[in-house]
Every structure is written in C-alpha cells, then in structure tokens.
C-alpha cells in the first residue's frame, strides 16, 4: 500500500521574534527517498526537529499517515514510527555502542533486539568492533553510523537524517551513502537533509531546495542536479 506518509502544510516556525520557517509545504510518499538541500542556516535542521515538535510550529500543520501530529509530544511521534538521526549526531556519550542501540528500541520494545542489532552490525561492521566502547571515545564517522543505526533500531516507517555527511572524510561519506542506498532499495522511506547536494541528489527520488526558511525549488533528483541555480549555489558551479 502506498500513500503520503508525511505532509507539511504551510508550516511556520519561530525562534522568538525570528521566523525560521515560512509557509513550508512538502510531502513524502511511502517508499520514497526525498532530500532537502540548502545552505547553512537555511532552516533545514529546524524543519526536521519541528516534525518532532521541538520547536513547535507557530502556524500550519503536520500530517503523518493522515493524522495531524502538529501538537503531539516528541515521544508520541517517535513511538508511532518516525525516527531521526539528528544534527550533531547526539549519541549518548557515556553509553556504550550497544546501549545506544538499545535506546533506539524504546518505541517497539525488545522483541527484535538481537536480530536487529545483528543487522546493524552487518550494515556497519565498525560498530560491531566497538560494541562495548563508550560512544564519546569514537570518531565522528563512527558516531554518525551509530546515530543512523540507533534510528533504524526502532524499525521506523520514516527515517529522518540530518546531514549524515557533515565533517566526515570523503571515504566515510561514500560508505554512509552506499548504506543509505541499500536501505532505500529495501523500501525504507528516507527524508534526508544535506548540504552535500551532489551525494544527496544522486540518491534521491525527489528533492526540495530551501533558502532562508522557504522552499525555493522542487523536482526530481536528476532535474535538480542539472538545474542552473542549484549547480551554481550548491554544486560548486561546475
């Protein structure tokens, strides 16, 4: 069964007097990989966090599988199938890799925990090597893998990823995107926020371009890759 899994309708978000998002409307269909690209400070991370109500929207609505979740609590939203690997990774620094992964299972309980942890270790073999190591002692790339794996542990219907390539060596970025492609082919719905437009657009079915809190452009990944404005602004102009 396919349908719209997430829909934002004219979403406004304010930080005090500053408007971070202006009438943002977008939709994500089940099974799609959609990315949101834009420069630093465009409001991309704010958009992802506002899906979880942090911060709350000051106007507009968020629908998840047809249900209005605009005013729901973060833990309600998480327990209904949306998972996020957030900006800055936010792994629990004093917990081991395994404990971090266990934190991902809160919404579904521990009935699949052994099987899923095994799957994560296949997806990210580095995590297996470091399973009993505390997260704070790991490299940025390993922490990023852990953050993604933790999000996957809840068997989400919709996976939100905030800049999985940020600050990582090109080879690690490649690895992570290869893994994301693998996930996408299994039918997982992915919403990816990236500054690394090149990788993101190649991976995505569709994409949105955000400028100053507004959606400026939208199209398929291919269309945007060849779009003049996108090339100049986000792909280094060549």
């Amino acid at each position: 069964m396919t349908g719209t899994i997430l829909e934002l309708k004219e979403l406004d978000v304010h930080y005090g007097p500053i408007q971070a998002l202006k009438k943002v409307s977008m939709h994500i269909e089940e099974g799609e990989t959609v990315s949101l690209i834009g420069s630093n400070g465009a409001g991309k991370s704010t958009l992802l966090m506002s899906i979880f109500g942090q911060p709350r929207a000051s106007g507009g609505q968020i629908f998840y599988q047809g249900v209005d979740i605009t005013q729901k609590s973060s833990h309600y939203i998480a327990s209904h199938g949306i998972a996020q690997s957030p900006e800055g990774r936010r792994v629990f620094p004093d917990m081991t890799v395994e404990e971090n992964l266990l934190m991902g299972t809160i919404p579904i309980g521990d009935k699949h925990v052994d099987e899923d942890m095994q799957r994560m270790f296949e997806l990210f073999p580095r995590l297996k090597e470091r399973r009993n190591q505390r997260a704070m002692t790991m490299s940025g790339g390993e922490q990023q893998m852990l953050a993604i794996a933790r999000a996957l542990m809840s068997r989400p219907k919709l996976l939100l990823l905030d800049e999985p390539s940020l600050g990582l060596a090109p080879i690690v970025v490649k690895q992570i995107f290869a893994t994301l492609r693998e996930l996408a082919t299994t039918g997982m719905t992915i919403f990816l926020v990236e500054q690394n437009a090149n990788h993101a657009l190649r991976l995505s079915d569709r994409a949105y371009v955000m400028v100053n809190g507004e959606i400026r452009l939208t199209g398929t990944g291919k269309e945007l890759l060849s779009n003049e404005e996108v090339r100049n602004a986000y792909l280094g102009g060549h």
Binding site: S79, A83, P86, F92, P93, D94, L102, I106, R150
Partner: protein
C-alpha cells in the same frame, strides 16, 4: 590499632552509608534536571515520621517479630515517601521546567518550609521517638581496647549497601536505568527516541525519595528520636557528600557519603565532637574551592 579509632571508623562507615543513601537523591535530581532539590532533607524527615507511624500501626495490630516489623515499615515508608517525592516534583518543579534556573530553587526552599510546618502542625513540635527494635551487640577485643558492634549498626550497614547495590544494578543494567541515563545525558534526544522524559524525571524523584526513606528508617532505628527539623542538618550533610563525590555522579554520591561519614566520625572521636558539623561544612567549602567537580565528577563543560 587503637580501639577508639576503629570504633569511630565503624560508626563513620554506618553514618556514611546513610549519608550516601540521601546523597543519591540530590545527585540524581541534579544530574537529570540540573537543580539542587533543597526539599530533599525534608523528604527524609517525613520518612522518619512515616517509619514511626508504620511501627506504631504494626505494633497496634500485634506484629512483634523484628523481620516482619522491619519489612512492613520499609515497604510502607518507601512507598509513601516515594509518593511524596512524585507529588513534590509535579507540584513544585514540573510547572517551572522551562523557566529560569533560579525559579525551581526558590520553589524547593518553599516546599521545604511547607513540609516542615506541615509536619510541625500535624505531629507537634516536640521530639518524637521510637523504641529500640534490635538490642544487643558484639564486643571484639583488640590490642589496646575493644570495639562494640551493635546489631543495629550491622543491620544498617547491610541494608544501606543492599539499597545502593540494588540501585546501581537498576541504573546500570535495566531499561529504566538506561532511560534515566539517556534523559540525563541528552533530554531532547531521549524524547526524540520515544522516551517520555517527564515521566523519567518523575521516576528519578521517586527513586531519590525511596532512598531517603530507606535512610530515614535506618537512622530512626539507630537514634530513636527525631523532630520536624531533623531533615535540615542531615540534608545539608548529604548535599555535602554529593558535592564531595561529584554532583551528578551516582557512585560519587555513595563514595562521598562514606568518606564524609568516616571523616566526621574520626574528627568527632579523635579531635572534638562539638565541632564535627563545623568540620563537615569546612570540608564542603574546601571542596568547592579546590575541586568543585568533586571526586568522581567531571569538570563542568558547556552543553551544546
């Protein structure tokens, strides 16, 4: 070794284990919401009254065996004190969750005064007492003297360490413990992973109150007397222990309690017992000056 030294060491260990139990409440609450719960000493005081009420009730119903009395009193006191902890958090702190850091502190002092006055009105301002439940002791002769080990003290040591052990296990190995640690390390992320962080914070208050209740039962057993003001000084002592160990650190609170108890007892026995409180609080001042992060705490770094 000197008999007095060894005796005071044992007394200090007993006292310190109880400080440790109360310090747990300070350190866990600080760890999770970054505030010092100055009403925590009063929670301990309430538990002493609850223990006495429970003992009286059990005696009224004809319970005489020590294990049954103890079990009944512990269960009753821990549960009712836990409810107090839960209500205090809901009424006094939760509504202030997103206000300035000073607001819940003032609210805590308010709750502390309310509880003291409430108990004073309900129970009277005179000192209350419970009879000795467990009498008898072992006497161990050593080189230059002897050490007296009362059954009560041994019981306190065992119960306090069992309480700390149980809590350490819960925090380290159970889902509840992981949820507490996750909420402490990154509350926003915890909520994004589906944890109801408000509920976890409530649990932490209940756990802290339950540990204070265990301490209340044990100290009441040992000293036999208490009044509505009993929470103040022991609350500040336990707070000192939490700071000594490193506020926010669970093993730190236990270690800090034991070190404070032992050093206070040694000072009282070997130097001057009138000035033991001065000694403890001087220790607090020295820690704050020279090692503000405590023994097991980490230096404060700004959270991103």
């Amino acid at each position: 070794m000197d008999g007095i030294f060894l005796q005071q060491l044992l007394n200090g260990l007993t006292l310190g284990s109880v400080y440790g139990l109360i310090a747990i409440g300070y350190t866990m609450v600080y760890g999770i919401i970054g505030m010092i719960n100055f009403a925590h000493g009063e929670v301990y005081m309430i538990s002493a009254y609850l223990a006495a009420i429970s003992l009286a009730l059990l005696a009224y119903f004809g319970v005489e065996s020590f294990p049954l009395l103890m079990l009944g009193t512990l269960v009753f006191t821990v549960i009712v004190t836990g409810v107090y902890g839960w209500v205090i958090e809901r009424v006094a702190y939760k509504p202030l969750r997103n206000s300035t850091r000073l607001a819940p502190l003032i609210s805590a002092i308010g709750i502390s005064l309310i509880l003291q006055n409430y108990v004073q009105i309900a129970q009277g301002s005179r000192q209350q007492g419970v009879p000795t439940l467990l009498s008898g002791s072992w006497r161990v002769d050593i080189g230059t003297g002897f050490v007296q080990l009362t059954y009560t003290k041994v019981f306190i040591l065992i119960a306090a360490f069992a309480g700390m052990g149980l809590l350490t296990y819960i925090i380290k190995y159970t889902k509840l413990g992981r949820m507490c640690r996750a909420t402490q390390q990154d509350r926003k992320m915890a909520s994004i992973l589906g944890i109801n962080t408000d509920r976890v914070i409530s649990y932490v208050f209940v756990i802290g109150a339950a540990m204070a209740a265990l301490a209340g039962v044990l100290i009441t057993m040992n000293y036999g007397t208490f009044d509505f003001y009993a929470g103040f000084i022991i609350g500040i002592k336990a707070f000192t222990a939490a700071v000594l160990g490193g506020i926010g650190s669970l093993p730190g609170a236990m270690l800090g309690g034991i070190i404070l108890g032992i050093s206070e007892s040694l000072f009282a026995g070997l130097v001057n017992s009138d000035y033991k409180d001065v000694f403890s609080f001087s220790l607090l001042v020295l820690i704050l000056i020279f090692r503000p992060q405590g023994l097991l705490g980490r230096p404060l770094v700004a959270k991103v």
